[in-house]
Symmetry: C2
Subunit: 271 residues, 2 copies
């Protein structure tokens, strides 16, 4: 057995351990600098509507790859079999959490469609490399997240408020963070708001709806990014008969180097 | 005689009228969408030091082109003869304004070097095209400008505070403006600050050091860009024996379409 806390540096080696049931822990820090993704699996009409929802809301739902119906592979992201290759899944029935298995082969259906969605890891790495403080990481906390009064564009049964994550930083860092994140449309892109939280319906910055309380220093301004919790909340609210997602922190590890993700997957040059 | 208020749409035709002394007015709105530039002419060691000053301070002093010593042309910007092709010049002797001629052929020296510097016209056009309000234009005022407590990097006798221009706008527009202006490094690039003016030494936003008082609406945040007044103030303070600049509003009109300036002059793709 491999200790989940020992670092596995190759994404393919990590996925092989996950596939064999030897690695069932959180993926942060594993798989080298490979892009990690949020996973959503839906069936039939729910899948069609969710694809339209992602297309209509690219900031919170940046699509890295969409599987063919019934096909558990995502070849543009690597040699991936989604029935086995995520360390822990969540199974939702009628919007309620039903199970947290490490393998979903027994649940796979021939009308299931898988969605790999970008997450904030990529741009947080880029911010850190640029010397911009990512305060929740330094403090060893989860990023604070908030429901806003901004609505997503509905598609089929999927709708609901935009959920945002917040990172506080000095103004000059905020400007640089905006220019950096604009180059990562597959990792939520540029922020959606900065400054006064009440303008987007956030009553108390110190009481996030998800994650941990923020670390805000004198001179910091709050900067808000569209967050991957948005589609999760929309799925829970829509109560599809069956939905499968990754468990929090237990991501889909791809073969794409983070720094090359935008260029390889979109043709957008990341500079 | 051509009325200076009639629009001349070709930059070459406009420069021909300027060269013949038929056009002596402000250039805003003339020459089609051609890039307009700030002009600085210095001689000998002053020119060498000013080039180093611009290199060290690219945000306030974005260099579009630098002439060869003694050569009054700038071939990368068009068929330009700087002894005649700006509608009105300012001549500075020992830091004091000495004259405002429409031709400087009699003053030209064989050790003079000309500097064409980018200005904010390019990015303001891009903001307007993106639907972002440029409040001083709507109000028919000059942009408000402020001396800050941020120092430029000195070079030779050139030094002094960074001067910034301010444009107030809602937060979401500020984020988009940052992503747009980052693509225009030759027009001062991304802002240098946003939010609290006191953080960069501005005591009263309603009392600018140059230009007109700002139009700030509820929900606006102030956004600050490095400003071309910075090198002008540095030159005045340095008191070189002789300096020649354009007169305010009477710019050097180039042949470069504004939208293509970054790509043509730097190889940077403007997206």
């Amino acid at each position: 057995m491999t200790d989940a806390r020992s670092i596995v540096s190759s994404p393919a080696a990590l996925r092989a351990q996950i596939r064999d049931g030897q690695f069932t822990g959180p993926t942060a820090g594993h798989g080298g600098d490979a892009l990690q993704a949020n996973l959503v699996i839906l069936a039939g009409d729910d899948a069609s509507a969710f694809l339209r929802f992602c297309q209509a809301n690219p900031r919170p739902c940046p699509l890295l790859a969409v599987g063919e119906p019934g096909d558990p592979t995502l070849p543009t992201l690597g040699d991936i079999d989604l029935r086995h290759d995520v360390p822990r899944y969540r199974v939702w029935r009628d919007g309620a959490l039903a199970d947290e298995p490490t393998d979903i082969a027994a649940l796979w259906q021939d009308d299931m469609v898988s969605f790999a969605l970008g997450c904030s890891f990529s741009f947080e790495d880029a911010l850190t490399r640029a010397g911009i403080p990512v305060r929740h990481q330094t403090a060893g906390r989860n990023v604070p997240m908030y429901r806003t009064d901004l609505a997503t564009r509905p598609a089929g049964r999927f709708s609901g408020p935009l959920v945002v994550s917040m990172r506080a930083m000095p103004a000059a860092d905020a400007i640089e963070a905006i220019t950096i994140c604009d180059r990562f449309p597959l990792a939520h892109g540029a922020p959606v708001h900065l400054g006064d939280p009440s303008e987007i319906g956030i009553a108390d910055l110190h009481a996030p709806d998800y994650g941990d309380a923020p670390d805000i220093r004198p001179g910091d301004i709050p900067v808000f990014w569209a967050c991957g919790v948005t589609p999760q909340a929309a799925i829970t609210a829509a109560k599809p008969a069956l939905a499968i997602t990754h468990a929090p922190g237990h991501m889909l590890v791809t073969d794409i180097p983070s720094g090359q993700a935008e260029r390889r997957l979109t043709g957008v040059h990341t500079g």
